[in-house]
């Protein structure tokens, strides 16, 4: 743990003493807390889209996605201990047709209605997929395609079989289909008609099947959610009276807001403020989840990182425990691409640890040493979603690498610019001289975790295999996983993929984020799952 300093006591004492006097005379004008109302400070700068296709990344899904809407398949967010996997949502069951694996049959849940009262059925499902894949449908929305369309790469057709059965058609057999379906939320077609067939208006008066309804919305300022008392999952009817979501993009403002009692829950407090929050009686939640903070190297011919010995050396040079200490304990050292307790972890033979001597040996074998020092340039950002504290962390690693004789230089850009570099691929002009990009990744589903980075065909401009990694054996392993339709077989196949990924040092992994959030002591019932998304329904306010 980080050794903390003691805040100047005299100043605090004076202030506390003085404040006692002052607060006797000053009326408490700070927004008082109404019982039963949970006020959450998000890091987003605006209320995320409430059309069923949230923006603002996974935070959008977390607060205006799975709260107001359901997908056919949902995430199991009930446990803090086991890896979070998919569970039935609006579909009770699904399976690929054994005779034709490109066809999936989903059996829908009966007796479910949208918030506006209209029934949920197969027509609604088809309508919702058409908004993304059918250019001629009136509800087609190019913006939503940009936001979530890429999450359903395999789904080509969606057909109604009967009122409660839907058939999905994929181009080639793909066992990952459920992990794609989970991201597509069901919006109410009737509501869309009622608001005048306009998605912008739908955003102001959304209607889904989720456990929360929208009661009040003030553009850019707040949205208030209330429980949907007739939610189909009786175990997940919300326990709070009301949830108020507030955009607070500035980390210090969030901290002030929590400390002053203006909100009850903030996302991503700054690690430095955690001790202060704790001493003010706040609860700090954190848990590993499918996030990883790596360097994604280029393995092109002009990159020093094409040599596996160099990649392994870099992996061994990093002092991960030191980074964890830098983050005030709010990080987990990486042992691979996914968390060690994830079923896809497997048993890789290459161990990620801090071994500078071994690192130096590997570098020497690769031809680098004091006479020929390795010079690298990485592209990083100063901030960004999931990037944690990029600058201090990178500087720390720069020092680690200097200790084994590697000169690491950074090209610091702004977050969006870094994403552009990512999309451009290692061969892009904008990435000249850059050997790796530092972008944090969500590894929540098989495509996001593995396929998009390692399939030889998924390099720019088609996908984000930034480094042009190309290994036919890996392609075969990915194929095998993609054709493993049964869960345990699929998990085992993905474990093989992960083992090879780690053994080949495909990336240089540093830490996993633990998704810290801070709440006042009045918030009860929250369980932080090992997931990017969280369940707000069991939360209640006391006192």
């Amino acid at each position: 743990m980080v050794v903390r300093t003691v805040a100047c006591p005299s100043r605090r004492e004076v202030l506390v003493g003085g404040s006692a006097l002052v607060s006797l005379s000053l009326p408490r004008l700070a927004e008082a807390q109404t019982p039963g109302v949970l006020r959450i400070g998000m890091t987003a700068a605006d209320i995320p889209q409430m059309t069923g296709s949230p923006d603002n990344g996974f935070e959008g899904y977390r607060f205006t996605g799975y709260t107001i809407f359901d997908a056919l398949i949902n995430w199991d967010l009930s446990s803090a201990d086991k890896a979070s996997d998919i569970v039935p949502g609006l579909a009770e069951s699904w399976a690929a047709d054994p005779s034709d694996k490109t066809k999936w049959i989903f059996k829908l849940r009966r007796g479910v209605s949208f918030h506006d009262g209209s029934p949920f059925n197969a027509d609604a499902v088809v309508w919702n997929y058409d908004k993304l894949i059918n250019k001629d449908a009136p509800q087609f929305d190019a913006r939503q395609v940009g936001l979530v369309g890429f999450r359903i790469p395999s789904i080509k057709t969606v057909r109604k079989v009967d009122d409660y059965t839907v058939a999905f058609g994929t181009g080639t057999p793909d066992a990952f289909v459920p992990y794609q379906v989970v991201y597509i939320l069901m919006a109410s077609p009737k509501q869309w008609e009622t608001v005048g067939k306009d998605w912008a208006k739908f955003h102001e008066q959304p209607s889904g099947t989720g456990p929360f309804k929208v009661d009040k919305y003030v553009q850019r300022q707040r949205v208030e959610l209330i429980p949907h008392k007739t939610y189909w999952d009786k175990k997940r009817v919300p326990k709070t009276e009301r949830i108020v979501l507030l955009p607070l993009p500035e980390a210090n403002s969030r901290t002030s807001a929590l400390l002053s009692g203006q909100v009850d829950w903030i996302e991503q407090p700054l690690p430095d403020t955690v001790p202060q929050l704790k001493s003010a009686g706040m609860q700090i939640f954190s848990n590993g989840y499918p996030h990883v903070w790596p360097y994604h190297p280029s393995v092109l011919d002009n990159s020093p990182l094409r040599d596996i010995r160099v990649r392994k050396a870099l992996n061994l040079a990093i002092d991960r425990e030191g980074i964890v200490a830098l983050m005030g304990g709010l990080a987990l050292p990486a042992r691979g691409h996914v968390l060690p307790d994830n079923p896809w972890f497997g048993k890789p033979t290459f161990e990620l640890k801090h071994d500078p001597e071994q690192a130096k040996k590997l570098l020497a074998a690769a031809g680098y040493g004091p006479a020929n020092p390795l010079k690298l340039k990485f592209a990083i950002s100063a901030s960004g979603s999931g990037q944690m504290l990029p600058l201090p962390m990178n500087e720390y690693i720069q020092q680690n690498l200097a200790d084994i004789g590697v000169h690491l230089e950074f090209d610091v850009t702004e977050w969006q610019a870094l994403l552009d570099r990512w999309r451009a691929g290692a061969k892009g002009d904008v990435n000249k001289g850059i050997s790796a990009v530092n972008i944090s990744y969500a590894t929540q589903d098989p495509y996001s975790a593995f396929a998009r980075f390692m399939r030889s065909t998924f390099h720019a401009p088609v996908g984000v295999n930034w480094g042009f990694y190309n290994d036919p054996e890996m392609d075969k392993l990915l194929d095998a996983a993609q054709l493993a339709f049964e869960r345990t077989a699929r998990d085992a196949a993905l474990a093989r993929v992960h083992e090879k990924m780690v053994n080949d040092a495909v990336m240089i992994w540093v830490v996993h984020d633990v998704g810290p959030r801070a709440m006042s002591a009045k918030v009860k019932g929250f369980v932080q799952a090992k997931n990017w998304f969280q369940d707000l329904t069991p939360v209640s306010m006391v006192g």
Partner: protein, 320 residues
């Protein structure tokens, strides 16, 4: 007189056009894809291309400028890429909030500024002058956003007396503000008022001192004549300059409040602009900058005309 006003107005037109050109070019100078706000990071290139075409970003810049200007003149500033809502719609709320904050800050800043400045001017050279002038000095030397943070720590976190962030819960208009709304506005308004307070103090002090130092005023005072006459004279001399300064400062407060709004999460135009810059939401950014700049141009025009009307001695040296 009328001719003068018309001439000023005519001079302003090319400036306004120039402003639109600068506004448009600034935003397009930005490196990076204009569609970042709406396209998920993973999206493949063909999706990006389709969207680009849909927004017209594939056309050459002069064409985009012409189209944009034409629409803007008809009140259509396009749609925000990030939210899909019309830019005017986004701005209407934000402008209202910024204006509200600017008004409160103006009252505080100008009020106290005139007070301190007048005191300092009258008490010229004395200790009181130094104290009052010091406030003025502080106002223009302090990083005001830093002060804002300190105020938050003091009043919100330590004392719990005032809210730290955001606007009032109801999102109501200024004239309908209740106690809670005012509580939210005090700290940001004080922070925003710091610099105008400094400037107005210094301006008023200089003007008052100059008026008082004029020979015939000294004569008046020597003869012991009613200070009311002196006061009237001082006011008459100070008023034009002060009005001009206050007018411009109000414009700056409206257009330059981004730092204060960022610290306090005040949903005004500055906050909007900050978001637009970092999400590279080009239509929104263009719209905000354009509206703010145009407002400032108009304000400048009004102040110019007023100044010339009030005090014909003041000439803008425009060699014409």
């Amino acid at each position: 007189m009328l001719a003068l006003i018309i001439r000023r107005f005519v001079y302003t037109l090319p400036i306004a056009i120039g402003v639109t050109v600068v506004c448009f070019s600034l935003v397009h100078l930005a490196p990076g894809d204009p569609l970042n706000a709406v396209v998920g990071p993973d999206a493949p290139a063909d999706v990006v291309e389709t969207l680009k075409r849909a927004y017209g970003f594939d056309k050459p810049l002069p064409v985009q400028y012409a189209k944009w200007l034409y629409r803007a003149l008809h009140g259509d500033l396009g749609r925000s890429i990030a939210t899909g809502r019309p830019v005017m719609h986004e701005m209407s709320h934000a402008i209202g909030n910024s204006v509200a904050l600017a008004v409160v800050a103006a009252v505080i800043g100008f009020g106290f500024g005139c007070l301190f400045g007048a005191i300092a001017g009258y008490a010229q050279g004395g200790f009181v002058d130094k104290v009052a002038s010091f406030f003025g000095l502080l106002g223009v030397s302090l990083p005001h956003y830093w002060l804002g943070m300190v105020l938050v720590i003091l009043f919100s976190v330590e004392l719990g007396a005032l809210p730290a962030i955001g606007i009032g819960p109801e999102g109501a208009a200024v004239w309908a503000w209740k106690k809670a709304d005012w509580a939210h506005a005090i700290l940001p308004a004080i922070t925003l008022a710091v610099i105008p307070l400094g400037i107005v103090t210094r301006t008023v002090r200089a003007a008052v001192a100059e008026a008082l130092n004029q020979e015939f005023v000294q004569a008046l005072r020597a003869k012991g004549l009613q200070s009311r006459a002196v006061l009237r004279h001082v006011a008459k001399n100070v008023a034009p300059v002060c009005l001009a300064v206050m007018g411009i400062q109000f414009g700056y407060m409206l257009g330059g409040s981004i730092l204060v709004e960022t610290v306090f999460a005040w949903p005004g135009t500055g906050f909007l602009m900050n978001d637009a810059i970092f999400r590279r939401d080009i239509p929104l950014l263009q719209g905000v900058i354009l509206v703010l700049a145009m407002f400032f141009v108009a304000l400048n025009l009004v102040v110019d005309v007023l100044q010339t009307v009030i005090d014909p001695r003041i000439r803008r040296g425009s060699g014409g």
